[in-house]
C-alpha cells in the first residue's frame, strides 16, 4: 500500500541523497517527493510517497531513523492528514472550446495562468482525488503537458507534537 512519509531532517547538503538513497537501496520506488525548509531554517521536511507492505515499510522507517541526519519520521498515511499537491495542466483549447475548459477549472477552483492561441494553462492545487478528477476531464480535450510539485502533507490539529 501507499505510505505518506514525512521526514524531518537536518537542512544540510547531501541529506536528501542520504534519505532517498536509503529508500531506493532497500528496493523501493519513490512515487512522489517534495523537500523544503521548515519554520526552523536548520531543518527541512521531506515528504515522500512510497509503496510498500507493512513489514517492508517498518524496515524502511527503522533504517531511516538510523540516519544521523534524520530527526523525526511521521507516517501521515492513516491520519487523515491534509494532503496537497500543485499541478500545472497545459490543455488543448481551440478558441471555441475555451469557455468549457474555463468552466471546468472554475468548478474545481483552479486558476487559468496562461492563455495561448490553442491552449490554456491551468494551475490547480488539491488532494489526489480532486486532481485526478480534473485530469480525467481535461483528457477529453487533450492534455499537452502535466507538471506536478510532488505531494506535501501535514497532520491535522495537534496530532503532531
Amino acid at each position: 500500500m501507499k505510505h505518506v512519509l514525512s521526514v524531518l531532517v537536518e537542512n544540510k547538503p547531501g541529506v536528501l541523497s542520504r534519505v532517498t538513497g536509503l529508500i531506493s537501496r532497500r528496493g523501493f520506488n519513490i512515487e512522489s517527493l517534495s523537500v523544503g525548509p521548515t519554520e526552523d531554517p536548520t531543518m527541512s521536511r521531506v515528504t515522500a510517497i512510497v509503496k510498500a507492505d507493512e513489514v517492508a515499510y517498518e524496515q524502511i522507517t527503522k533504517q531511516l531513523h538510523k540516519l544521523i541526519s534524520v530527526y523525526k519520521i511521521s507516517d501521515l498515511t492513516d491520519e487523515g492528514a491534509i494532503e496537497r499537491e500543485l499541478v500545472l495542466f497545459k490543455v488543448n483549447a481551440q478558441p471555441e472550446r475555451r469557455n468549457e475548459i474555463i468552466e471546468i477549472a472554475n468548478v474545481f477552483r483552479a486558476k487559468i495562468v496562461d492563455v495561448g492561441r490553442s491552449s490554456l494553462t491551468i494551475e490547480a492545487t488539491g488532494d489526489e482525488s480532486k486532481l485526478k478528477g480534473m485530469e480525467d476531464l481535461f483528457r477529453a480535450y487533450g492534455i499537452k503537458e502535466i507538471i506536478r510539485t510532488g505531494k506535501i502533507a501535514m497532520s491535522r490539529n495537534s496530532k503532531e507534537q
Partner: protein, 658 residues
C-alpha cells in the same frame, strides 16, 4: 612503537591558534588516539606534516589504503577502541571503500579521515578528486564533508561519539585541503549532543519481564549469541544467564569468543558450516534468545523453515535488526550487557529453576553422534596429505586462549578455523563475517598485533585471500610486528571450488590458482621467516616454531585441493538439511553426501533455487560432458587432463598431479 602508553585525553592544546591540519591531529590526540594507520598523498600532506610533530600518535604506514583501513579495523576489533585511518583524496579515498564496507557490515567503530581537494575546486573533476562522501554513503554509519574550520573540532568529537556508541560503525570525515592550512582557534568540546542521535541502551522493563517468563516456560531454549555481545562487553552476563538457567549456547561467526568454548553449555558455531547438533538445536528449540545477533542468511538457511516451533526473544541495540528477518515475539531494544544482567536478576528474584535437563541430554547425545571430526573419515584421495581439521586443532591446542588472537581471511580455512579453534575470551577471534572480505584477515592481524602487543596474533589464511593484501608484509616487517600467518595452501579458491564440485558438476571455472607464488620466497623477500610443510608429521612442530618466532613468520601448509568443509547446509536449504555431517551411529561416515556426479544439468539445482538465473550456455555443453564422462568412468586422470586442456597449463601443478 608498541611501548607507547595510551594517554588520557590531553587538552593542553586547548585555546591555541593553529592550522586546520594541526587541529585534526590535536583532535585525534584529544580523543586519546595512540595509533593511526594510513597512506599519505597530495591532499593529505598537510595533515601528515602536522602528524610529524605528534608525540602521542604513532602512524603506521601501510602499503595500500585498503590495508590501512583493515589494519585500523583489526586494531579496533582487538582493543575495543576506535580505529583510525588517514588517506588522501581520489584513489586514496576510493581504495578505502572495501575496508569501510567490511567494518560497516560487522559494526566496527572506525574513523576514516580522507583528504579532499580544496573547497573551491570541488565538483570540477580536478586532479585526484572523488566524491568519497557520496561513494561511501551506503556503507558508513555517518559521514562529514568539512565546510569550515569552525566546525572542525565539533565534527571530530561527534565522529568519535557516533562511531563508538550505539551500534558501532565506520564514520568518514572528508577534509578539504584548504581548510587544513587555514588558521583557527583550537577548542575541543567536552560534551557532545546530537539531538537526532540517541541510541537506546536501557531495555524496557516490561519486555524484560516478558522475556523472563518465556525463559521460565521454555523446555528447549537456545541462546543465540552474536557479535553484539562482544561489542557490548556482555560475556559475563551471558555466561551467568546460561549457567543459571542451564541454557545451551550457539554462536555466530561474529559471536565466536563471546562465550567460552570450555563451558559445557557451548555448542559452537551454527549455520551453513555449523555443527549438525547446533543446527538441530536451533531447529528443534522452543525458544531462541537472540543476543546481539541478526539472523543472517548464513545462520538461518531457508527462513521459512527456520526453527518453526521457536518463540523468539530478540535483544539488540539496533531496532532495525528486530523483526527484519524473523519476527520477534519479545523484542528488546537495548544494550546487551544491561538487558541480560536485568534478565538474570529478574530470574533470580523469581527463583527460576532450570528445566532443561532432558534437552541437554538430547543435545549431548547429538554431540556424541555428529562430531566435527572423526579419524576414520578421510577426505580427498590418498592418505599422507595434511588434514586441515588437524592443523586447526593443533593450532588451537598450542595457543594460550587468553593470550592469543586468531584472525582469519575468508573461505574454507575460515570455516575450519571457526569449527576447530577454541576461543575462551571475547575479541580473540576476528573475521570478516558480514561482507566476507578476502584480503581482510592479514592486515587486520597486523592491526590487532599493534593494538595488543602482549598477545600472539595468528592469521589463518588461504592462498587466495592472502594474496589479496600480501603487500602488507612490508608493513609488518618495517614496524617489527610479530604477526604469524598460517596459509592453508590448497592452490585453489577452495570455497568456490567446493561449490563448483557440489553444485556445478566439477567445472572448476577460474578457481585453480596453482602453486604460485612460492610463499617461502615471497616471505624471504620481505624479510620474514617462513617454512613450507607437506608432511603431516611436521605440522605440530612447524606450528610450534611459528608461534615461538619473535619475527613475523609465514607457515605455508600444503593441503589437498579436494578437501571440503563439512557439514554444510546448501544455500536456500533448511538449517537441519545438513549434508556431509559425520554420523558415528552408522559407522563414522559422512552422511547425506550430495551426489555431484548426477548426469543431469549441473545448474538445474541452482536454477531451482534462484529462479533460473543461472542458465546453461549451449556452447560449452560438449566440454562439460567430456569432463563429466571421464569422471563417471572413474578416470580422474583423464578428467584432469580434459580440465587442464581447458585451463592454461601450469607446470608446477601438473608435475605434482602426475
Amino acid at each position: 612503537m608498541s611501548e607507547k602508553q595510551v594517554k588520557k585525553p590531553t587538552f593542553d592544546k586547548q585555546g591555541q591558534t593553529m592550522s586546520g591540519a594541526q587541529a585534526v591531529v590535536a583532535s585525534l590526540e584529544a580523543e586519546g588516539v595512540d595509533t593511526v594507520f594510513g597512506y599519505p598523498g597530495g591532499q593529505a600532506i598537510k595533515i601528515y606534516d602536522a602528524l610529524y610533530d605528534s608525540d602521542q600518535i604513532n602512524h603506521v604506514l601501510a602499503r595500500h589504503e585498503q590495508g590501512a583501513v583493515h589494519e585500523a579495523d583489526g586494531y579496533a576489533r582487538a582493543t575495543g577502541r576506535v580505529g583510525v585511518a588517514i588517506v588522501t583524496s581520489g584513489p586514496g579515498a576510493t581504495n578505502t571503500v572495501t575496508g569501510i564496507a567490511t567494518a560497516y557490515m560487522d559494526s566496527v567503530p572506525l574513523v576514516v579521515i580522507t583528504g579532499q581537494v580544496p573547497r573551491g575546486v570541488i565538483g570540477t573533476d580536478s586532479f585526484q578528486e572523488s566524491d568519497i562522501v557520496g561513494i561511501t554513503m551506503p556503507v558508513v554509519k555517518h559521514s562529514f564533508l568539512l565546510q569550515s574550520t569552525d566546525e572542525l573540532t565539533r565534527t571530530f568529537r561527534e565522529a568519535f561519539h557516533i562511531a563508538s556508541t550505539g551500534r558501532p560503525g565506520p564514520v568518514l570525515i572528508d577534509v578539504p585541503s584548504d581548510l587544513a592550512s587555514e588558521e583557527m582557534l583550537f577548542v575541543y568540546p567536552d560534551s557532545v549532543s546530537i539531538p537526532s542521535y540517541k541510541p537506546t541502551y536501557k531495555g524496557n522493563a516490561k519486555q524484560i519481564r516478558a522475556a523472563m517468563k518465556a525463559i521460565m516456560e521454555a523446555k528447549r531454549p537456545v541462546l543465540y549469541v552474536g557479535g553484539g555481545v562482544i561489542s557490548s562487553g556482555a560475556t559475563d552476563e551471558v555466561v551467568e544467564l546460561a549457567d543459571y538457567m542451564q541454557i545451551p549456547v550457539v554462536t555466530t561467526l561474529m559471536g565466536k569468543g563471546a562465550f567460552p568454548a570450555s563451558n559445557p553449555l557451548d555448542l559452537g558455531p551454527v549455520g551453513m558450516h555449523g555443527a549438525k547438533y547446533s543446527n538441530l538445536a536451533m531447529t528443534e528449540s522452543d525458544l531462541i534468545v537472540a543476543i546481539g545477533a541478526r539472523f543472517s542468511d548464513r545462520v538461518t538457511g531457508k527462513v521459512s523453515e527456520f526453527a518453526p516451533a521457536a518463540r523468539v526473544i530478540h535483544i539488540d541495540i539496533d531496532p532495525a535488526e528486530i523483526g527484519k528477518i524473523r519476527d520477534a515475539e519479545i523484542p528488546i531494544v537495548g544494550d546487551a550487557k544491561g538487558v541480560v544482567s536485568a534478565l538474570v536478576s529478574n530470574l533470580k528474584k523469581a527463583e527460576a529453576k532450570p528445566q532443561t535437563a532432558q534437552w541437554l541430554e538430547k543435545l549431548q547425545a547429538w554431540q556424541e553422534r555428529f562430531p566435527f571430526y572423526h579419524p576414520h573419515v578421510v577426505e580427498g584421495e590418498e592418505a599422507g596429505t595434511i588434514v586441515p581439521e588437524l592443523v586447526m586443532t593443533s593450532l588451537s591446542e598450542q595457543l594460550d586462549p587468553e593470550k592469543s588472537i586468531v584472525v582469519t581471511e575468508v573461505g574454507q580455512h575460515q570455516m575450519w578455523a571457526s569449527q576447530f579453534i577454541d576461543r575462551e575470551v571475547p575479541r580473540s577471534f576476528l573475521s570478516s563475517g558480514g561482507l566476507g572480505t578476502m584480503g581482510f584477515g592479514f592486515p587486520a592481524a597486523i592491526g590487532a598485533a599493534i593494538g595488543e602487543p602482549e598477545k600472539t596474533v595468528v592469521c589463518v589464511a588461504g592462498d587466495g585471500s592472502f594474496q589479496m593484501n600480501s603487500q602488507e608484509m612490508a608493513t609488518a616487517s618495517i614496524n617489527r610486528v610479530p604477526v604469524k600467518v598460517l596459509i592453508m595452501d590448497n592452490r585453489c579458491l577452495g570455497m568456490v571450488h567446493q561449490w563448483q564440485k557440489l553444485f556445478y558438476h566439477e567445472r572448476y571455472s577460474s578457481t585453480l590458482l596453482d602453486a604460485c607464488p612460492d610463499f617461502v620466497k615471497l616471505a624471504d623477500a620481505y624479510g620474514w621467516r617462513a617454512r613450507r610443510v607437506e608432511d603431516p608429521a611436521e605440522v605440530d612442530d612447524a606450528i610450534a616454531e611459528m608461534l615461538s618466532s619473535v619475527d613475523p613468520y609465514l607457515l605455508d601448509v600444503v593441503i589437498s585441493r579436494d578437501q571440503n568443509v563439512y557439514p554444510m547446509v546448501a544455500p536456500g536449504k533448511a538449517l537441519d538439511d545438513v549434508m556431509g555431517a559425520i554420523d558415528v551411529a552408522v559407522g563414522a561416515v559422512r552422511t547425506d553426501m550430495p551426489n555431484a556426479k548426477e548426469p543431469k544439468s549441473p545448474c538445474s539445482k541452482i536454477d531451482a533455487q534462484f529462479g533460473g538465473r543461472w542458465e546453461i550456455d549451449p556452447e560449452d555443453v560438449k566440454e562439460r560432458l567430456d569432463v563429466a564422462q571421464a569422471v563417471a568412468q572413474g578416470d580422474a586422470l583423464s578428467a584432469a587432463e580434459v580440465l587442464r586442456a581447458q585451463t592454461s597449463a601450469n607446470t608446477t601443478w601438473s608435475a605434482r598431479e602426475e
